[in-house]
Symmetry: C2
Subunit: 235 residues, 2 copies
Amino acid sequence: MNNTPHHDHKEYHLQSSDVLTDIVIGMSDGLTVPFALAAGLTGAVVSNNIIVIAGVAEIAAGSIAMGLGGYLAGRTEIDHYNAELKREYEEVENVPEVEKEEVKDFFSDLGLSEEVQQKAVEEMTRDKDKWVDFMMKYELGLDKPNPKRARNSALNIGLSYAIGGLVPLSPYIFLDKPIEALKISALFTLICLFIFGFFKSKITGLNPWLGALRVTIIGALAAACAFAVAKLIEH
Amino acid sequence: MNNTPHHDHKEYHLQSSDVLTDIVIGMSDGLTVPFALAAGLTGAVVSNNIIVIAGVAEIAAGSIAMGLGGYLAGRTEIDHYNAELKREYEEVENVPEVEKEEVKDFFSDLGLSEEVQQKAVEEMTRDKDKWVDFMMKYELGLDKPNPKRARNSALNIGLSYAIGGLVPLSPYIFLDKPIEALKISALFTLICLFIFGFFKSKITGLNPWLGALRVTIIGALAAACAFAVAKLIEH
C-alpha cells in the first residue's frame, strides 16, 4: 500500500510488467525449446552441422512466430478496444436508460443501498466521456491499450527468443562432437534458466529460489524428453 | 448488452475464453514452429528421417515447455491471489482507516461527490468479506482464479501443441523425398492455419477473413525464413 493515487500507480505497474512479460516469454521459450531440440538431435546421433542448421531454423521460425504473434496480439487488443469504445458511445447516445441501468447494476453488485446507487448513477452519467470510460473499465473490464505496445511487444519477444536460443546452440557451433557440445550446452542453459527464473519470480513477487528451480526443471525435463523420444524413434 | 446480471455474464465469458485461449496458443505454435522447422531442414537438404526425428523432438520439447509453462502460470496466479487475499484481510483488520481511504479513493476517481463517496464507503465497509472482495477486484484488479484452471491449462496447451505439430510433420513420415513432403506439408498446414485463424478471429470478435489471412501469412513467413536461413548456413 502507498500514498500515490492508486490509478497512476497501477498504470505504472502495468507498463513495466508488459515489457518484462515480453522478455520473460521470449527468453524462456528461446532458452527451452532450441535447447531441447539440440538435445533431442544429439540423442539421435546427428552431426553438429545438422544440429546447428536445425537450431538456427528453429530460432528463425520461433522468433518470427512469437514476434509477429506478439505484434498481432497487440494490434488485436487495440482494434478490440476501439470497436468497443465506439459501441459504448453509440449506446450511451441511443439507449441511455439501458446504460444507466448497467451503471446502477455495478453499484448494486457492490452491495450499496438503493439511495446511494441512484445518487452515484446520477453523478456518474453527467459527463459522457467519464461515463463511457467507466463502462469500458468496469462493465467490459478493458484498460486503454498503449498504441506503441503492439510494435514494441513484437520486437521484445522476437529478439528475446533469438538471444535466448543462441545460448544452448553456441556449443554446437564451436565443438565437433555432439555429446561434448550437449554437456556444455546443458550446463550453460540450465544456469541461464535458473538466473532467468530467479528474476522472473522476483518481478512477479513469488519466492525467487522456488521459481528458479521450477523454470530450470521445465527446461531439463523438456530436453530429457526430447532426447529420449529421438533415441526411441532412431532405433 | 443483455439482461443477465453483468457479473455472472462476465465470468461465463472469461471461463470459455480461457480454454479457447489455451487451445489457440497451443495449436498456433504447434502448427507454425514444427512446420517452419521441417521447411528449414528441407532447405538444408537433410533426409526425411532426420526431419521426422527433429520434428518429433521439437513437438515433445514444445508441448512440455508450453504445457508445463501453462500449468505453472496457472499455479502462480492462484498463489498470488491467495497471498494478496491474506494480506488484504490483515490490512482490513489492522489498518481499517487506511483501507477505508483506499475505498474512498476509488469512488473519488469515478468522479462521485464527497457526500456519495462517504456514504458508499460506509456501506461498503460494513461487511468484511464484501469489503475484501471489493479491494481484491478494484484496488488490485484480481479476479478469483479457478483452482482447476492450472491443471486444465497445461493439458489444453500441451495437447493442442502436439496435435498441431503432427499436421506439418506427417507428410515427412509417409513420403521419401523432402521436397515432395514439403509441398504437401505446406498445403495442409496453410489450410489448417487459415481455418484456425478464421475461428480464432470469430471468437475474439474480429473480421474472421482478415484474421485467417494474418495467421496464414505468419506461418508462411516463418517457414520461408527458416528455409532461407538453413539454405544460407548449409552453403
